[in-house]
Symmetry: C2
Subunit: 189 residues, 2 copies
DNA sequence: CTAATTCTGTAACGAACAGTCAAGAAAAGG
DNA sequence: CCTTTTCTTGACTGTTCGTTACAGAATTAG
């Protein structure tokens, strides 16, 4: 019935995601996004409404790509302590492999945008809550909470992961991050 | 010999500090800073050179006002476990009392500016390292490390504090933050 | 008082900002 | 073929950005 869209929406959001992660919401201009995605200004506005719309799409994509698989992994992995250990080390790997000092988009969005944008806030909150649920279920089922509320331990783990992202923005050192993960794991039974 | 400066430099930096904490580096315009400090554009540039100069002054002030006293407290407080417990709860108090969802300037600077500005990086790194030193000394002296390297435990504590700031940006809930602090404290002997 | 110096306030700079719009190009229905 | 619909392109909007320049006010030295 009409002309088909030339650019790949997914690919554009992916590119925008990296741009926002690198320079934040305020620090990324529409021109930057045009260059990063290879999509014209007009098309960008037609597809996403405005800068915030594209940002929200990027945050959603980050959730789908990184958080949801993690939740799945937590749901079916049974040796819980080893699983959580592996997840923390994976975070370290990801940070070190990436090389750039930029925090993940979740942390960046939480710090920069969540206080100002309710849409961002509700998304970050939902993703964090889902991850906490997954951690809490696993910890509760296998009695790793040492008498504490599994939800509190789950929150603690999420805080540790967030904190490691911040620490990595300052010094992305593998040994230090690994040691931090090991100490945190000591809080589990 | 010449006209004396009319505005209070300290007060101006203090005001700029709050502005930067609220809206970040990129999100705070010179006009915002003029309004926040009550100092004219020209005077601001004469005193601090440019936007980055004022930002660095704000980061320095944050360090002097919040990090240095903490380091002093760690140096002379002997019941280490209770001291650290109190410090973590103080962080919670500060976050909750503040009410605003904004992360502290250290975390904000680490996430937003440290990857792009070497001057910011070196400052945040130095402050974090000093705090780690203070924690590590205390933990080492009093054998709270449970056989681990006291430095690793200190790094872990810093990461926990950073993480709590991020968590607070999403949900500044006293009960949740307190519980997180308690779990983290479980890593000490 | 005058001269020298340094601050303050404001106007102005070019560049970059987010967002709009109209005209052309491409696809599908008839 | 032509019409209709939608996407793309690029120029353009007015505004705001960080920074500079300059005139005038305030202070001190001589």
């Amino acid at each position: 019935m009409a002309r088909i869209r030339e650019f790949d929406t997914e690919a554009a959001v992916e590119a925008a995601m990296w741009a926002f992660r690198r320079t934040g919401f305020e620090g990324t201009s529409i021109q930057d996004l045009v260059e990063a995605t290879g999509v014209g200004r007009g098309s960008l506005y037609a597809a996403f409404g405005n800068k915030e719309g594209l940002y929200l799409a990027a945050v959603d994509r980050y959730r789908d790509k990184y958080a949801l698989p993690l939740i799945e992994e937590l749901r079916y992995g049974l040796p819980a302590r080893e699983l959580i250990h592996g997840i923390l080390l994976d975070v370290v790997d990801e940070i070190v492999a990436d090389g750039s000092r930029h925090a993940c988009l979740m942390v960046s969005a939480a710090v920069e945008r969540a206080p100002h944008d309710p849409e961002v806030r509700v998304r970050i909150r939902a993703t964090t809550a889902s991850l906490e649920d997954a951690f809490a279920d696993l910890i509760g089922e296998q009695g790793l909470a040492r008498g504490r509320d599994p939800r509190d331990v789950a929150r603690f783990l999420m805080t540790t992961i967030h904190g490691m992202r911040v620490t990595a923005a300052i010094t992305p050192d593998r040994a230090a991050l690994t040691a931090i993960a090991e100490v945190a794991l000591g809080c589990l039974a």
